[in-house]
Symmetry: C2
DNA sequence: ACCCTGTGTGACAACGTTGTCAGCAGGCCT
DNA sequence: AGGCCTGCTGACAACGTTGTCACACAGGGT
């Protein structure tokens, strides 16, 4: 006595099926049947049970359900960073599909740290998620073996799993997209095209560089290492690299940027380097420097930036559907899906060489 | 016999504490102690247990743990849309704090649907999350009562809970921010300032309009309903509204946009309406129409758009920390935290009236 | 001899649900 | 009558963990 914040009820805590059963004057199991909409319950009985449920405010405890049945109706999603528009679009698509399949979604951002990726994945597994969608930060997925053995399914998105890991993957056509970007500039008359990409430790960055090189080779143009800069996103470094590139004896007349963040950072760097205000749209862009960005970004249309668009929504949807296919018994060998890219000309990529 | 995809082991499925105990030659409870790092286990025994754990690839089943102990070490986050940069920044901050507290995060997007908000929240509750952070779509949170009674804590973010719901909330200084935006334009000499906002069913939209009106009143300017358009985001409607506004006998010389999406959509509409290419940065913007946007967005700096910036990261952090405070026993009355806004002049808001 | 304390360990019940099986009517067939 | 369905309901064990309590043993004081 004294501090009793209890409700008007004599019981404490959440009502269980047992409480409902007692209130409805039926057996526990009958309540279970009603809650799970199992057939074979008399309509009048079911009605009484429903009344008791409403009266007590009963809600099923999914932990117990999970423990007993083994299915959690939830999946885990590990991406690089929720705040990156590319991944948040992917995230939304996954969420959509998961919800349609009656599943809930755990999310976590690895921040490009393999260790954090591993921790998140294992934490999801400890929660017994039914499946995983992973944008891997690391290259080694041996830690998933026990989980696979236990029947957890995983689909990799945006980047393939590490060597030796047989799992589904949904990738973007990185090589083709980058080749298209560079080829587009070549077709516009450019001969010296710089490539500004993410760290070569990242799969997509390497692939896109491959595509860039392929386009140069197909056009019979030399591959000049001095025109390539790669590394983790860092506005200062990027600005320095750009300044160096533009000050060279034989500067590039066009740029290809390796992802959305790099495109925006590049524009910022150009604005900072430019003596005159940056003018966009149909206007010549910084003295005629052409630009094609890999990956579309929100107001790229306003800025008149030509891009090779990925489709993160489609990637997320594909990955999620692949996963749910697996969860409903699809047992074939590991699959690899490729999401195409699309060139969207908006002006910046159509400027002729200066 | 026949189809036995089993591993080299005779057992099926995931090893349990019992299996580990058998392998290590100790009792189940000892394994539990080791796994949970409870004190009072002999170092040599613990070593044997660890060896058995590694050997079998054992991982604790959190569903059972949850069932027994009642704590899930997970929280639920319901936002409006992950793909909206404002909410994804908020999301990231929440994730960060959750991880620091050793909690995992369920996320879901309500898409501005009260029903979906409710479903997500209740699904999270069925999973027995320890707490919730909710950006409410609906106005009625009576459905949370049974959950509160059961000890689940909730913090509302960006928008307050419905009437009668005593819960913590973290809000942005909507009124103050909007007042600042309009006052800034007034100080620049503008007398006819249009307000383009989200649907008045949304709390933040109403509050921001209030701030706008307050600034007008403080400046002794009339409030002209003809200069206000509100409604759910729809580029076509916005363009039509803008066309109407600009074609009026006494058109506005400045705009205030009610959130990031509206700012970008407005720019798009202006670009579409403009005969000349849009020029940004320090250039006069579409014939001198000034603009201040509520809410910062990614390349607003590049576009030279003056904004009143919110701080979604801080909002998420504050909400999450408030929640974890509650989870660790803070029992005071419901709190309301306000996150300040900040005017960032970038050119578009400093243009004088045409 | 006694009790006491501390250290390490284990047996057992409990958490709230679902799967299995058994039971009890009532009806319809042989 | 006896047998056998079909429709509905309930008793009970099990899922894998943690909390509670008890026990065995060693050491140190009386």
């Amino acid at each position: 006595m004294g501090d009793d914040p209890g409700v008007g009820d004599t019981r404490r805590g959440r009502p269980t099926m047992n409480d409902v059963a007692a209130a409805a004057g039926v057996a526990l199991k009958t309540v279970s049947r009603v809650v799970n909409q199992e057939p074979g319950v008399n309509a009048a009985t079911a009605e009484r049970v429903h009344a008791a449920i409403d009266l007590l405010g009963y809600r099923r405890n999914d932990s117990a359900r999970t423990l007993r049945s083994g299915r959690t109706a939830s999946i885990g999603l590990v991406i690089e960073d929720v705040a990156d528009p590319f991944y948040s679009s992917l995230s939304r698509a996954v969420e959509e599909v998961a919800l349609r399949h009656g599943h809930l979604l755990f999310t976590g951002s690895s921040r490009e740290s393999p260790e954090r990726e591993r921790e998140l994945v294992l934490a999801f597994c400890a929660r017994r998620v039914d499946g995983l969608i992973i944008v891997p930060a690391g290259q080694d997925h041996g830690y998933l073996e026990p989980e696979f053995a236990d029947g957890i399914r995983a689909v990799f998105a945006d980047r393939p799993p590490g060597a030796g890991c047989e799992a589904d993957a949904v990738l973007c056509d990185n090589v083709g997209g980058a080749r298209t970007a560079t080829a587009h500039l070549v077709a516009g008359g450019h001969r010296r095209i710089a490539f500004l990409g993410d760290s070569p430790t990242i799969f997509t960055a390497r692939e896109r560089l491959r595509g860039h090189r392929a386009a140069l080779a197909e056009a019979g143009l030399p591959y000049d290492e001095g025109l390539v800069t790669m590394g983790p996103p860092d506005p200062d470094r990027l600005r320095a690299d750009l300044a160096r590139l533009l000050a060279a004896a034989d500067p590039p007349t066009a740029l290809v940027t390796g992802n959305g963040r790099f495109t925006v950072d590049t524009l910022r760097a150009l604005a900072a380097l430019s003596p005159a205000p940056v003018r966009l749209g149909a206007e010549p862009y910084l003295g005629g420097l052409a630009l094609v960005g890999f990956d579309d970004f929100e107001p790229a249309d306003l800025l008149g930036i030509t891009v090779v668009a990925q489709d993160p929504g489609r990637m997320g949807r594909t990955a999620a559907e692949l996963l749910f296919g697996r969860l409903s018994g699809d047992e074939g060998p590991a699959r690899r899906a490729e999401v195409p890219t699309r060139l969207i000309p908006r002006g910046s990529g159509e400027l002729p060489p200066a």
